[in-house]
């Protein structure tokens, strides 16, 4: 379908990119991304995906906005303190780009039927703040054969990678076989965070989602990006499917995987 004049003007500078163009823009408007966690990582990821014209954004978060979130969770503003994060985020997304359909899931991820939910989206962004959630998302996406981008941060550092179900590709458990002992590293760490670190990684997660949805460029699979804001270093650690991963039989199946999984998505 040809794009209308207002749409052409809104996305003018992105339509000029041959990797996107009018065809890509039209494809993006039919794609859906689920962002789990609307905090430091999820805020910029949601804003960039909305700005780029994703058709549908799903938002999962059970928390309300707190004053101490605002130094890094840039989708939430001071008057939002006390509001549900998914509703605060939905308002901003609607203002930024009314064409984006927003589905809110105001539940803790633990309560959501995650594997089923991931099947409803074309790409998943793990923007959560606990180890248990990160394992749960990786497991659910491996099971539902849904691509996802993982990120985690602490202090001045962060790391991320993308998982592709139709490639011989390592998952979160291939990299971190078991969660850390809770008495050493609690599931939800409440340590210091340099605000722009999740901002940087959440932005890169949005870039991965768009590249995946439009099938261009090189995705960050089987490579862990490790970012250190103090040293201003970006390093890549090569990894792959682990023969000890409980999901190893899922890593690298190709036969019709993506097509079959995509057919299930609306």
């Amino acid at each position: 379908m040809p794009l209308g004049p207002e749409v052409k003007e809104r996305y003018q500078r992105q339509l000029l990119l041959p990797e996107i163009g009018e065809t890509g823009q039209s494809i993006l408007s039919q794609k859906s991304v689920l962002i789990i966690g609307i905090g430091g990582l999820g805020s910029p990821a949601a804003l960039y995906l909305a700005a780029a014209g994703i058709g549908c954004l799903g938002l999962v978060d059970g928390d309300r906005v707190e004053l101490s979130n605002l130094h890094r969770q840039i989708i939430h503003f001071t008057p939002d303190v006390g509001k549900k994060k998914v509703l605060s985020a939905k308002e901003k997304i609607n203002q930024l780009n009314p064409a984006v359909q927003v589905k809110v899931h105001p539940v803790d991820m633990q309560a959501a039927r995650l594997t089923e939910l991931t099947r409803e989206y074309h790409f998943i962004i793990d923007a959560t703040d606990s180890f248990s959630a990160k394992y749960m998302i990786s497991d659910a996406c491996v099971r539902s054969r849904t691509p996802f981008c993982h990120a985690g941060i602490t202090g001045f550092s962060g790391q991320m990678f993308t998982y592709l179900p139709d490639r011989a590709c390592g998952c979160f458990r291939c990299l971190f076989p078991q969660p850390p002992a809770a008495h050493i590293l609690p599931d939800r760490v409440a340590g210091g965070v340099f605000g722009s670190v999740p901002g940087t990684l959440g932005t890169l997660q949005a870039a991965e989602a768009i590249k995946y949805l439009l099938s261009f460029g090189e995705l960050l699979f089987n490579r862990l990006l490790v970012y250190d804001a103090k040293r201003m270093s970006f390093r890549f650690v090569v990894f792959g499917p682990s023969r000890r991963c409980p999901w190893r039989v899922f890593h690298g199946q190709t036969e019709g995987g993506r097509q079959a999984a995509d057919d299930e998505r609306h």
Partner: protein, 66 residues
């Protein structure tokens, strides 16, 4: 002996276990996994795995924040 740790060449005591290497580097073993020559090891393996000269080691921190 010399190994590469997180992209940098480093002189370390001869043939340590992963646990000994982490103690030498003053890193809490429970907060990391260690990749040695592209194979991932976690805490349970740290005692058993012994490093050799020229190994390529990546020490990866658990990062749970978001």
């Amino acid at each position: 002996m010399q190994v590469t740790i997180n992209g940098e060449k480093k002189e370390i005591p001869d043939r340590p276990t992963v646990r000994e290497l982490l103690a030498f580097l003053e890193i809490e073993p429970e907060t990391v996994v260690v990749e040695r020559n592209r194979e991932i090891f976690s805490t349970a393996d740290f005692e058993a795995v012994r490093l050799q000269a020229d190994d390529v080691i990546e020490i990866l921190k658990f990062m749970g924040g978001g």
